[in-house]
Amino acid sequence: MCYLAVAMHELSIALSLIDVATEAIISSHSTGRVAAVRVRVGLLSGIDRDALAFSFDVAASGSVLEGARLHVEDVAVTAWCPSCAAERAVVSISSRRCTVCRTIAPRIVRGEELELVGVEIEEDGNETDRGPTRSAEQE
């Protein structure tokens, strides 16, 4: 596999991330600086986190997200194990076996995510219409 193709893939994903994040910022009526972007990436999503981080910096350049940090939360693959009757970790992304009893577990529960969790905004303290968002973390 050519590295260029892999990076191209993450670049397309990063451009979509910029779009989704920008829309969220606009609809929240925020005026502050974007400090960080948080994403969840399932290990079965096919996305390489280093390539995504690199692509994010390139894609964010010139946008409201320029200079923002990218936090990637990996999501391990779990599947419903019919023998254990429980959600279990699987052996690897290439082996859908329950790590407890080794039974093949057909149904994936987690690990395919590719999701924007949220955007952290630094604000100067002026009260504005903040929209329906969660309370602030203090720094």
């Binding site: 191209m8 397309s12 979509s16 096919g46 859908r96 303290g125 602030a136 973390e137």
Partner: protein, 222 residues
């Protein structure tokens, strides 16, 4: 300085997914069965499509979209079968997305079609992430590629509804380990249906054509 978190919780490919859902609804309303083909370059997507179009064009109304980074060579090949074919040239983009499909369909009357085939760009990485609104997705691997291909690219095998092992006519010559390949597919994606065929000799084509027929009946019944 206060930091606040704007919670979003949205899929990164939301825009593509929304458009793909719209396409899927359109396909279902028109009763057309849309099958996409994905594989690495050279696994035999175009050869399989050529044989398939030849085999079914007399009994069914068929059209095809073909994605490639450059050239319309594949579309030219497929046009010889006499069915409407459009090339999607993706340029530097390594996959077909829902928007490209939507654009390529312009002017076609889907109601008149029984089947629409979408041949994706030869690539086992990027196409996995992009829903095209297809009814079913088939992933191809040829006997020359190595039995552990599914283990190396699990995401695309997880996105597929069928695996097709191609070029079985040369399996013996290249020392293809069939049990190992089937075991690998089942390990990555338990229960995934597998069809083994050769587009060149037509061995195994009947199973594929029957699969397509079932898919068409399911699409027409929606």
């Amino acid at each position: 300085m206060a930091t606040r978190l704007i919670e979003v919780r949205r899929d990164l490919l939301n825009k593509n997914d929304v458009l793909a859902r719209r396409l899927r609804r359109r396909f279902a309303d028109a009763g057309v069965c849309v099958v996409s083909l994905v594989s690495s370059p050279g696994a035999g997507k175009t050869a399989l499509l050529e044989s398939t179009l030849r085999a079914i064009a007399a009994d069914a109304s068929v059209a095809a979209l073909v994605g490639d980074l450059a050239t319309d060579n594949d579309a030219e090949r497929l046009r010889r079968s006499g069915v409407p074919v459009r090339q999607i040239v993706t340029g530097t983009v390594c996959h077909v997305d829902a928007q490209m499909v939507d654009t390529a369909l312009e002017g076609w009357n889907l109601q008149e079609l029984d089947f629409l085939f979408i041949e994706n760009v030869g690539n086992l990485v990027c196409p996995a992430s992009y829903d095209l609104g297809e009814s079913l997705r088939a992933v191809l691997m040829s006997v020359t590629e190595g039995e552990d291909k599914p283990a190396k690219y699990p995401t695309i095998f997880n996105s597929a509804d069928l695996a097709i092992i191609t070029k079985t006519d040369i399996a013996a010559a290249v020392g293809f380990d069939r049990p190992a390949a089937l075991q690998c597919i089942n390990e990555v994606r338990p229960g995934l249906e597998v069809i083994e065929l050769s587009a060149r000799t037509s061995a195994g084509m009947t199973a594929w054509l029957q699969w397509l027929d079932r898919a068409r009946q399911a699409a027409a019944a929606v």
